[in-house]
Point group: C2
Chain length 140, copies 2
């Protein structure tokens, strides 16, 4: 995994630093999306808050991660698929936020249908955020 992480950084012309490796590792391990808060805690005060902010910004710009809209004022981030690069995201996929456990899933296999927008509106990106109960919580 370490190698994959280093490859990802190199592919995006980013220098290999401890914080970037660690944060990418957290994303790889996470089964869902992460907020700044999660990263700050899961990395165990290893890095400065500012470093985390800047690292996340850099990753978004490079198209390594993408932001997920939410209605609760905490931006969540998740790994992008391969075809995002240089800030041009193609993540028209569905996100699911579980009201019970709080996990945010990227449902890559659910495709976002074409929408009939009113005359004159041109869509660049479509985000779908579904909230409800996830399979893990429903089974329990």
């Amino acid at each position: 995994m370490q190698q994959t992480i280093i490859d990802t950084l190199k592919r995006n012309q980013l220098s290999i630093t401890d914080s970037r490796k660690k944060i990418l590792e957290l994303f790889a391990k996470a089964n869902g999306a992460l907020a700044h808060f999660d990263i700050e805690h899961q990395s165990g005060a290893e890095f400065d808050r500012v470093t985390i902010y800047r690292t996340l910004q850099t990753f978004v710009e490079k198209g390594i991660i993408h932001t997920i809209p939410s209605a609760d004022n905490s931006i969540r981030y998740a790994l992008c698929k391969e075809d995002c690069a240089g800030g041009h995201h193609h993540d028209d996929h569905v996100h699911f936020m579980c009201d019970s456990c709080g996990t945010t899933y990227c449902l890559d296999h659910v495709n976002v249908p074409q929408l009939d927008l009113p005359k004159g509106f041109r869509a660049v990106q479509t985000d779908v955020v579904v909230s409800g109960v996830c399979s893990k919580c429903a089974g329990a």
Copy 2:
């Protein structure tokens, strides 16, 4: 319009206060959604920040306004349709955020298609946020 606003407050068993009237008026005049920031500025330092926060909270609880997910850490609010009440929102409609002018539209007439979620996932609410260029900016 004043009468409509007062009716709305009465219908929701809220006492008629200056701040509630003013904030509802701002929503009625706005052609899109408003963030706390917008309200604070458009009301011209007339009310305390805390009052605005609490008023927005109250309105959301009563189903007068609803929140719109966004990826930029500023919750936006918009007026609900008639059938939202008591915190039970039925706003499965499409929101459009213009990258050019920043306006957030509620596209009430664009219906949200049914999604095929993976086994075990139960959807309670679906939010669709489209970003791009609105008709006003495209025409200019």
